[in-house]
Symmetry: C2
Subunit: 204 residues, 2 copies
């Protein structure tokens, strides 16, 4: 590392947002390559690297992913009532069709015992999440926007994309050029939720 790298990291951390508004310009291949390269440097329990990425640029398939999302969204809306429900209905939650690239990040369950998983097997899925998080920062540093769409039913996603049987989709990421400049979480801007101070205690 070099002097100034800490401040640079913090500029990237502060700039990272969950984007849902994208332009339709294509993503440069070299930039996409660097986003994917984040998986190379990601931590994983027992160095298991239990992940697989499917890059979805096909617009018909992205429409199918959006159909999946739309059905889940309807179900979720029913879980809220009153003013909250009306606000929910007004939110834009994803940019699946606009963003030129979708990334399906799948968990690949290892066939052998993995070091570090005896008391908590979820550490394997957590490794995939860490890798996604680093890819998110790599995208931010490219000036790209990334949005993690969690309202997707994984079985339907698996079928729509014809994924291999051993893959378990864990994250669907929209990647493209951001169409909105966001200086705080969008859910805070629209009044859905607010950032809170860190809940913290000490054992000295």
């Amino acid at each position: 590392m070099q002097p100034g790298d800490r401040d640079a990291l913090w500029r990237v951390l502060e700039a990272r947002r969950d984007h849902r508004h994208f332009g339709t310009d294509p993503v440069d291949d070299a930039a996409l390559g660097r986003v994917l390269d984040a998986f190379r440097v990601a931590p994983s329990v027992g160095l298991s690297q239990p992940w697989h990425v499917t890059v979805v640029r096909n617009a018909t398939l992205r429409q199918a992913v959006h159909d999946n999302f739309a059905a889940v969204r309807v179900r979720e809306q029913d879980r809220f009532g009153g003013e909250r429900r009306a606000l929910y209905a007004s939110l834009k939650l994803e940019g699946i069709r606009e963003a030129p690239v979708g990334l399906v990040v799948s968990f690949v369950p290892p066939v052998e015992v993995t070091l570090g998983t005896t008391s908590g097997p979820s550490a394997l899925e957590y490794s995939v999440v860490s890798a996604v998080t680093l890819a998110w920062l790599a995208a931010t540093a490219e000036g790209l926007g990334l949005g993690w769409v969690s309202l997707i039913e994984p079985g339907g996603l698996h079928a729509a994309l014809g994924l291999a049987p051993h893959l378990r989709p864990l994250a669907y990421l929209c990647l493209g050029h951001p169409a909105l400049e966001l200086h705080e979480p969008l859910l805070q801007t629209v009044g859905w939720a607010a950032r809170r101070p860190l809940a913290l205690d000490w054992r000295d």
Copy 2:
């Protein structure tokens, strides 16, 4: 962001390691504060921020955490056979007692419905993992070493530290000054596992 921030991010990403060898020098309060500040900028599903951090500097409590780890390690060793078992027995897997700071990152299950969790409630725990991952980078950028010890039985950890009932320990992190310079994953250096190219396919 500024020109050069992308390269700086990559230097931090390449420098991040899972550390198990620590000196016993204390961690500077300002540096610790910046590591914890990573939670402020972490993504979370529905802006739920479902996390809590307990900072453990007390040596007696860290010894208790180590006892928990040691018991799980014995169980895990039994899952390997032959040469693999002998290699496992030789590995240093944590620095709980040497590292002057332990961080227990707990998941705090929200009491209300969280936006974005209808098709995958695990997105809440995943948010905690993303935050831990950012804290890991923040520590790296401080020149500190961090190690995620996944071989800890969460119920015993909860009891030993007297955590509040609503907290579910998800990660135990060792934080301190690294005593070994690592240029690749330690598990690769010792021949336990090797990095693989990213498994990738395309839907164009």
